[in-house]
Symmetry: C2
Subunit: 357 residues, 2 copies
């Protein structure tokens, strides 16, 4: 049995999205319990009027709500009884295996980091997401998607480690995940100074590092984990969203260009619908805050109940399959191996300075 | 009459692509002359057997070819009679209004910069490209697409200036081009340190700066010029290419899922073909080397004759409409205005240090 703590007040629409989303999710997954965190009275009413299965739901009262535009540090300081904070507390205290919120991203990250702390050896958590690829059975984990705009080579390497460990924990049948470094070319010498340094670190690591990949490499079944700093990763994510929307618009336009095409659209409807369903952004809702000592999933703030349901799905799968103990052990081993390489390099470079008499 | 100098030996396929591409272009545009630069004998044979209109073509002999993987600095030093270099020389000497090459990007950039020099005030040239948007009549100029992976705020600002001046020169009917800064959010406080500095500079400039845009902003008719460093820009470009290819694959897959969809694909053929034609990457072949004292267009190295023809089209349009004198004057005015703001700021901050007695 998996228990998820839901920030019921978060997101642009709060209860009107989280409650129906939660109910849809409970219909889909049987072996799960939800802790709905937020305004007690509001929750009781919303759940009752939606005819929610109360045997699988508990209400956890929280008196405050973090606003969508509130400064993260202020939320952390002043909103200790917010639905967001109380949901994360459930994970910290072991009452729930994951927390899900559609609230303010910055506040959620700051709160999650403050309450749960990072996995030893991971300086800063990253935001990660599974992206679809040309192989229906393959998803590429992309990180960081915006938590850290300026990253050091060490941090990027940590992202690679933590991403690889998550994929391995969730999909052990796939073997050691293939890790790619997002770059402007596949040659070793490409990229910014930080990226070049990261390349060296990853090459010396015990990860299954396949080298640099370019922007189009995310869509092939070429890598399992793509590492970038949060600036590049976020721009890439938004670019993909924009490109998909743009192409969908173009399809629509083509199919309404003239009477013939409009008629064709009717017979093509099943294919067009299949296409739409496959690329429905709501299915890819649910970003993972990676590197924390606990599972926290961020739903898009403006999503609807279907999107919120998918965020709960993501939390459920991660909570069920990605054992934190296993991930922590994997991270520790990977980082220890890297440290060894570093020490050896320091010794070697030290030795090279000793002049032979 | 516009004259273009064509590096006939450049690209993965050399003459077998450049010659038919050139002939296709001459059929499309009447008021143009081509200087085909390269191996004299090979060119004569290829042009003759393709029945080329020799009254509109001249052959300019060049004895060397820059290899696709040759180090730019070596090409610059050792290949002074390369087809690439001789083509660019034609622009320098005023014999041609633009040079087009499908050759080695790094060598082409190094050679173009060495031969033509940059526009006064522009430290380094950028690679730019017009991208399609949801509005059929609107194209977004994206730069830099990979010439400069590490950029200062000053350089990014220069890219904004030069991009804006190009769009204004080519599309004066549009009024002052709208300039956007690629970022991870629309708020002023977002982004890396360099991007934040650039935001301030652009805000103080006389450009029509509309602020930060996110990755999806490229596809809307929201800006005319998008500024990013070459690392982010290149990854974005490749991501778009990958996303379009991915979506096209998904469409194909949906329309062959079952017998019904396969039949639907037949009636949908005109719409699907229209879609394919609209997003044909060959139509967007032809990257602009921007910031040089002369027009240089880079064709994709692996393109076919249709793609090469579109690169020639791009060169033709830029040579015809983007007067260098006008662009240089615009750049000088914009940079002078920026300099003034800087001086005023220096004065203000100096004044604030003077203690009142």
């Amino acid at each position: 049995m998996i228990t998820l703590a839901v920030d019921a007040m978060g997101g642009d629409a709060g209860l009107t999205v989280t409650v129906p989303g939660a109910i849809a999710f409970l219909k889909k997954q049987s072996n799960v319990h939800l802790m709905m965190v937020g305004d007690e009275v509001g929750l009781q009413q919303a759940l009752k009027s939606a005819n929610a299965p109360m045997d699988r739901i508990s209400i956890i009262p929280a008196s405050q709500v973090v606003e969508m535009d509130e400064a993260p540090q202020l939320a952390l300081k002043n909103k200790k009884d917010s639905s967001m904070r109380v949901a994360i507390n459930q994970v910290k205290e072991g009452n729930a295996q994951a927390a899900v919120s559609a609230g303010n991203t910055g506040a959620l990250m700051a709160t999650a980091r403050f309450v749960l702390k990072t996995i030893p050896g991971i300086e800063r958590p990253a935001i990660a997401k599974f992206m679809p690829s040309s192989n229906t059975n393959h998803f590429t984990l992309m990180l960081d998607l915006g938590a850290n705009v300026d990253c050091s080579a060490d941090q990027l390497t940590q992202f690679a480690v933590i991403g690889s460990e998550l994929v391995q924990a969730m999909y052990p049948e796939k073997g050691q995940p293939r890790v790619g470094l997002l770059n402007v070319g596949t040659e070793d010498i490409k990229g910014t100074e930080t990226v070049k340094q990261t390349f060296k670190l990853l090459k010396n690591s015990k990860l299954n590092f396949i080298g640099n990949i370019e922007g189009n490499g995310v869509f092939n079944d070429q890598v399992d984990v793509v590492v970038a700093d949060g600036f590049v990763g976020n721009i890439m994510l938004k670019t993909i969203e924009g490109a998909v929307k743009f192409m969908s618009g173009e399809i629509k336009q083509e199919f309404s260009r003239n009477v013939f095409n409009k008629l064709a659209a009717i017979t093509a409807l099943p294919a067009l619908k299949g296409m739409k369903a496959k690329l429905d952004p709501r299915k890819f809702n649910g970003a993972i805050f990676l590197g924390l000592r606990g599972v926290v999933i961020k739903s898009h703030g403006g999503t609807d109940e279907v999107g919120f349901m998918y965020a709960l799905e993501e939390a459920y799968h991660e909570a069920k399959f990605a054992s934190l103990a296993k991930i922590e052990q994997g991270v520790a081993e990977q980082l220890a191996a890297l440290e060894k390489v570093r020490e050896q390099e320091a010794l070697d470079s030290g030795a090279s300075h000793i002049s032979t008499p």
